[in-house]
């Protein structure tokens, strides 16, 4: 049992690409936890998809030993997810730490996620060590960046460390700072068991691995445990530490970080943020801060041709057992048949789930436009939450419609402020603050309706700031707005998957824009196809796709049938990406067209 005094639990937080994974690799390598030979590039990012998308989706961890001033320390590295969509998971990972390394790229400077992550760390009362990284690269200006950190986050510039995850420069000082500046964990080893589940992973051979931070007490193999939030009881089959390979230990005690196996079959049976205690003589109060993950962005998945509803359901179940951060429930649409309404933490999360479904289960999907949830206050005073525009009650019953708002911080070069303000205005944003990071960079704070920024705000921001702008947001709550539901009719059939909820002032513009986009996305058919946008039965925009007069090959149709069949097969393949609404084939792109807010 390691002396609590010699334990350090810490995480690394950073904006994407500021070098978190590289630094984590370096720490493992330097402490001898893994040899150079074993060292895969970026050991900690272990999902292919993560690697491909260049982001960390799930926190990983490792326990390493380090001798400092003649004493052997146990350093527990908790790698936190980096993206805005995973705020809650970041906060749970941080709740397992006493301190964090706030990593900032010496050439890029402070970015929106740097700030957002630092705030979460401050809220959690963590010791924050600013670490200016990549000092080896040309164009690094570490001193200025340290000043930015001081300016925006109030962390003294002269306490910043300067390192290079790539060359290893400054790593010794970093180890020293971890040992000296991050406090030792508290916690009472004699008190009833309380262990925070800060992450959980599914392992094909061993079931669910719960990653825990020991807060009080002690846990060992054979213990009968109780999940204080989830309510279930289990028997512990193994406890251990990741070094970084899972390595069994006799026990884990307060202050330590490790994993617990307890015969849990699916991720759905574990709640991140839950507290483990003993079944007998357990703790009375669970650890604070527990939240059920809140899905904010919803869209539908319908089976595409070649995939059945049952096939899709099985694929979703399989994935959900592996990653229960999304929700799904059956839904149906007159136009698209039976499918699933799915909830995600954010847009990136949605994209990841969609790709994993397609890749891991080989299903074809028709995905509808993502929307946010709305709260509808009925005349009766009752408040209902709707997950899709099609659930909107009859307008005569509605008192008001509330939409989710978020607080966003945007960091951009000073010369882009004008363009950004125009974009923000188009997206119904209100500015709430401005802070200069330096002479050339500024942080603007806004409040936005979430629905206005989930889709392409990030891309727009990148393009108006030549790639330099960054944004991070946090959902704050619901507010009433002048919102209406707009229906889209294709060939006189309302296609509910195409309907959207828009602000009244933008309805006409969006309606026109949308029907014109749809006219381009939907191919000419044998007959004329009207495309209409309507609000409460009133048509506000219309376009028509002309029909063919003739579509027949009147030629010598002889014996070379293979060629003809191949052609039909190609057409059939093309139709797979389409959804049939009546006699009209609507391509997947059309369903994405509704996303386009249309300010370019």
């Amino acid at each position: 049992m390691t002396d609590q005094r010699l334990i350090r639990n810490f995480g690394i937080i950073a904006h994407i690409d500021h070098g978190k994974s590289t630094l984590a690799d370096r720490i493992l390598e330097r402490s001898g936890a893994i040899s150079k030979r074993e060292m895969r590039e970026q050991f900690l990012d272990d999902m292919d998809l993560e690697r491909e998308m260049g982001i960390t989706i799930k926190a990983n961890r490792a326990t390493v030993r380090h001798v400092h001033k003649g004493e052997e320390y146990m350093l527990n590295l908790i790698d936190t997810p980096g993206h805005v969509d995973f705020h809650y998971e970041v906060s749970r990972a941080m709740a397992a730490c006493e301190g964090v390394l706030l990593l900032v790229d010496a050439s890029q400077g402070v970015q929106a996620q740097t700030v957002a992550n630092a705030y979460i760390a401050t809220d959690a009362n963590l010791e924050i060590i600013p670490v200016i990284n990549k000092i080896d690269i040309l164009g690094a200006h570490p001193d200025e960046v340290a000043l930015e950190v001081e300016q925006v986050l109030g962390l003294a510039a002269d306490e910043a460390l300067f390192v290079s995850g790539k060359t290893g420069q400054g790593i010794d000082e970093l180890f020293a700072a971890i040992c000296e500046r991050i406090p030792a964990p508290g916690g009472d080893r004699a008190a009833p068991l309380r262990a925070l589940i800060y992450d959980a992973k599914s392992d094909p051979h061993r079931g669910i691995i719960c990653h825990v931070r020991m807060v009080d007490g002690c846990i060992k193999r054979g213990d009968a445990i109780h999940m204080m939030r989830g309510g279930s009881d289990q028997i512990v089959t193994e406890v251990g530490k990741c070094t970084p390979k899972p390595t069994p230990m006799p026990d884990l005690s307060a202050g330590e970080v490790g994993y617990v196996l307890a015969g849990i079959k699916t991720l759905a049976d574990v709640n991140i943020g839950d507290t483990i205690t003993h079944e007998k003589h357990g703790a009375t109060d669970p650890l604070p801060g527990y939240k059920t993950p809140q899905q904010m962005v919803y869209c539908d998945f319908y089976p595409g041709p070649g995939t059945t509803t049952q096939g899709l359901r099985e694929a979703m179940e399989r994935l959900w057992l592996n990653d229960s951060s999304f929700t799904y429930g059956p839904t149906s649409s007159d136009a698209l048949g039976v499918g699933f309404r799915c909830g995600f933490l954010g847009l990136l999360h949605m994209k990841i789930i969609q790709e994993r479904l397609e890749r891991e289960s080989d299903v074809s999907l028709v995905q509808t436009a993502p929307t946010v949830t709305y709260e509808i206050v009925l005349r009766t005073g009752e408040v209902v939450t709707i997950l899709s525009p099609s659930q909107m009650p009859d307008p005569s019953h509605i008192e008001e419609i509330r939409e989710p708002f978020c607080r966003a911080s945007v960091i951009i070069p000073v010369d882009c402020v004008g363009t950004l303000m125009t974009l923000a205005l188009e997206r119904r944003g209100t500015q709430t603050g401005t802070e200069y990071l330096s002479k050339t960079r500024v942080m603007l704070r806004f409040e936005f309706p979430l629905g206005e920024i989930i889709y392409d705000f990030y891309d727009k921001l990148k393009s108006i700031t030549r790639g330099y702008g960054t944004v991070d947001y946090e959902v704050t709550g619901f507010r009433a707005g002048q919102l209406v539901k707009m229906d889209i009719l294709v060939n006189a059939v309302p296609v509910d998957a195409l309907s959207i909820i828009v602000h009244r002032d933008k309805a006409l513009f969006r309606g026109r824009r949308l029907v014109s986009r749809l006219r381009k996305e939907i191919e000419r058919h044998q007959f004329e196809i009207p495309i209409q946008a309507a609000i409460g039965g009133k048509i506000i925009a219309r376009e028509t796709i002309k029909g063919f007069r003739k579509n027949v090959t009147a030629k010598c149709y002889g014996g070379d049938v293979t060629r003809k069949r191949k052609l039909l097969e190609k057409q059939k393949e093309g139709k797979k990406r389409m959804k049939q609404v009546g006699m009209v084939s609507i391509p997947q792109e059309a369903f994405m067209a509704v996303l386009d807010p249309g300010d370019d």
Binding site: H525, Q526, F548, R549, K550, N551, V552, T553, A554, K555, C556, Y557, G558, G559, D560, V561, T562, K564, R565, L568, E569, Q571, K572, K575, M583
Partner: protein
């Protein structure tokens, strides 16, 4: 009823027409002898099997451009085949200007009883636009000459939708063709096939395709005029007087077996499809090396066959033979097309009866779309083809 067809491809023409994507090359100065020798060889091999040959069709290309000696050799070989089978229809393709008494005698001696001639148009400028070598004045004499040799069944091909063509001039071409009293008329809409000169000219902006609407009108005029004059439509582009439907083409359209011989010829025997190398020199080389010159072949699964029945038979005025479909595939038409038949029937595009599923007039105009939709609705999951690369048959 169980007989099969025989197609022989002669890949030579006087010169290449701008719109043509059949495999053929200009004969000028070339020797046709070596090719004819290999073709006769393949003919011998392919007709060895027991299948009874019911129809023969010699096409191309322009078979009648063959030098007389080669022409004789080929037809002597065909005579042998005809003699051994109960052939009921023996067609040769010809261009009006390439017919002469000598070749007609050779043909009739071998049993040819049907001639199919590419008249295409009765207007000099339209023939020029198509880069055809003959003149309108060659058409009637060609037909008359064939009649003198006792050919009782003649088809003339016509093309509509030629750039610059008007509905009226098309009606004129139709009229003059009808006046010749031929038994069969085929009306083809000009199509822009990839890789042809015509398509290149369109891409370069030198040719403006006929307007969609005008072409529709032309097609309508053809249907009406031909019907009034006793030519019944039996396939999208084919019209015949009573009993004059081309039995050989019906083999294709009814998904029966047929043997193909010669470069680029396709055949389908017992649900095994093959296609020969589309290149004279390559064909000769493969025949000499392997004794066969197939470029590709595949075995049709039940589902593939069902798809082919749909795509060929819906082009027929009588439509898809429901009983034959059930017998050949074990599938029911009611369920095979994802239940979409009724959709099309409701829209007036299909006519569904006990024994047939056929396009209506409106459906005919939209035939490609209807067929593509129904094809896409079929469950062809068992349909991977077992592609056999150019092995000997």
């Amino acid at each position: 009823m169980n007989g099969c067809g025989l197609y022989v491809h002669v890949p030579f023409c006087d010169s290449k027409c701008g719109y043509c994507d059949f495999y053929s090359v200009a004969l000028k100065g070339r020797s046709a002898g070596p090719l004819v020798t290999r073709t006769i060889q393949e003919l011998g091999l392919r007709t060895l099997g027991g299948a009874a040959i019911e129809t023969v069709f010699v096409g191309g290309g322009t078979p009648t451009v063959l030098p007389i000696d080669d022409f004789r050799r080929l037809f002597a070989a065909l005579d042998g085949v005809v003699g051994a089978h109960a052939v009921v229809e023996f067609t040769v393709e010809a261009n009006p200007a390439t017919l002469d008494d000598q070749k007609l005698s050779v043909m009739t001696a071998a049993g040819v009883n049907r001639l199919s001639m590419g008249a295409q148009s009765w207007h000099v400028d339209e023939l020029a636009a198509l880069e055809r070598l003959h003149s309108p004045d060659d058409i009637a004499p060609g037909v008359a000459m064939a009649r003198r040799h006792g050919i009782g069944n003649i088809n003339l091909d016509l093309i509509f939708g030629i750039p610059g063509q008007t509905v009226q001039r098309w009606a004129e071409s139709l009229r003059r063709t009808i006046d010749l009293g031929v038994e069969h008329i085929a009306c083809y809409g000009l199509t822009y096939e990839p890789g042809t000169r015509l398509t290149a000219q369109r891409a370069a902006g030198r040719v403006t395709p006929c307007d969609d609407g005008i072409e529709t009108d032309m097609y309508g005029v053809a249907l009406e005029t031909l019907a009034q004059n006793g030519y019944g439509q039996y396939e999208i582009s084919n019209f015949a007087r009573a009993g004059g439907a081309c039995r050989h083409n019906m083999m294709y359209w009814r998904n029966r077996s047929y043997i193909g011989v010669g470069p680029s010829a396709a055949g389908c025997v017992n649900r095994r499809r093959y296609k020969n190398v589309a290149d004279v020199a390559g064909y000769i080389r493969r025949m000499d090396a392997d004794g066969m010159a197939e470029a590709e072949s595949e075995h049709l699964t039940r589902e593939m066959f069902a798809g082919e029945m749909l795509l060929m038979q819906l082009r027929l005025t009588d439509g898809l033979d429901v009983t034959a479909f059930r017998q050949a595939t074990g599938l029911e038409t009611g369920s095979a097309f994802g239940g979409r038949l009724d959709d099309f029937a409701e829209r007036g595009l299909l006519r569904i009866t006990e024994d047939g599923i056929a396009l209506t007039w409106a459906g005919t105009l939209a035939a490609d779309w209807v067929i593509a939709e129904l094809y896409a609705a079929m469950d062809l999951s068992g349909a991977e083809s077992q592609h056999v690369a150019s092995a000997i048959g």
